[in-house]
């Protein structure tokens, strides 16, 4: 039982670290995409304030979008894998 708790606690901590790292990465990629989109539409550079507003609007869209929610799979997939392993090793 202690073994299970240890796995659950350390697993949760480890997955949380991975979740945050992936969140930062994904946000960074999303912002870079927006910057590149703006730069492609405005080869001259455009208005700096408008550029910032465009990127912030895009980031708000990202924050409520599906891509951000998909990172929660970091918690789901390992649990499914562990359950599958328990089934395959002991019951199958």
């Amino acid at each position: 039982m202690i073994g299970f708790l240890r796995l659950a606690v350390f697993g949760f901590v480890g997955l949380t670290v991975i979740y945050f790292l992936l969140s930062i990465y994904s946000r960074s990629v999303a912002r870079e995409e927006l910057e590149k989109e703006w730069d492609a539409d405005h080869p001259e550079g455009g208005d700096e304030a408008a550029r910032r507003a465009y990127i912030e609007a895009g980031m708000r869209e990202y924050e409520s979008g599906l891509r951000k929610k998909l990172i929660l799979l970091v918690y789901v997939i390992p649990v499914i894998v562990v359950l599958a392993l328990i089934y395959l090793t002991n019951i199958y």
């Binding site: 073994g3 992936l22 392993l85 090793t89």
Partner: protein, 224 residues
């Protein structure tokens, strides 16, 4: 310096390979001969090659372990231990040791009338330090020459490669977005320092000059 680097990477690669080779599942086609249970002393460094099936087993100096004696298709003997891994490493989540022993008992056969089985296991057999691979599964084989495709290993190694690729992508993104902008700001300051360094390098021309410059690098820097 090059030898140090290569030695480091070779040792690292060997450790990674050994780790994967020990922990990933492997399949043997064998004939079960017998099973037995024996008291094992677990007080020395080879403890890491045995499991901790339950919470108190970590503190025990000795305990009974089940074994499965088999003969491979090529006639060589192979003995597996049969222990729970529980919730511990490696993550096989094996709790069905008693059932596995029953299945092994059921699969016993003689050389005259062999019944071939596939034993899934992890770990190493070494006679000199008395360590045994841990059997995690047993199923009837099609025959002594059955070709087994290691799907689990393919999936695990592919996943590991993807994770490494992802870590690299994340690092590159971090460097591009966070470190490089900072370095660019510092770049001008570094350029000024560079000019001074170039002037110093001019003085240390020639082999003898370079040697003396190298010797100078061993001198302590004046304290500020």
């Amino acid at each position: 310096m090059r030898y140090v680097k290569w030695t480091f990477w070779t040792i690292l690669a060997l450790i990674v390979f050994a780790f994967l080779h020990y922990n990933l599942p492997q399949h043997d086609i064998v004939r079960v001969v017998n099973t037995y249970q024996e008291r094992q002393d677990l007080g020395d460094w080879t403890r890491m090659f045995w499991s901790s099936p339950d919470d108190q087993s970590g503190g025990l100096v000795n305990r009974d372990v089940q074994f499965i004696q088999t003969v491979k298709a090529n006639g060589k003997p192979m003995v597996y231990r049969n222990e729970d891994t529980g919730w511990n490493w490696p993550p096989y989540f094996k709790f069905d040791t008693a059932s596995l022993l029953t299945e092994a008992e059921d699969a016993k056969s003689t050389a005259a009338d062999p019944k071939w089985v596939v034993v899934t296991h992890y770990g190493w057999r070494n006679e000199f330090i008395s360590i045994f691979p841990n059997a995690v599964g047993i199923r009837p084989a099609e025959g002594p020459d059955e070709r087994i495709i290691p799907w689990v290993n393919i999936v695990i190694l592919t996943t590991l490669a993807l994770i490494l690729f992802m870590i690299r992508r994340m690092w590159l993104q971090f460097r591009e977005r966070v470190i490089d902008p900072v370095l660019q700001d510092a770049g001008e300051a570094i350029d000024r320092v560079d000019d001074t360094a170039d002037a110093a390098a001019e003085k240390a021309r020639g082999i003898w000059g370079r040697f003396k410059a190298w010797l100078d690098t061993w001198k302590g820097k004046p304290r500020r």
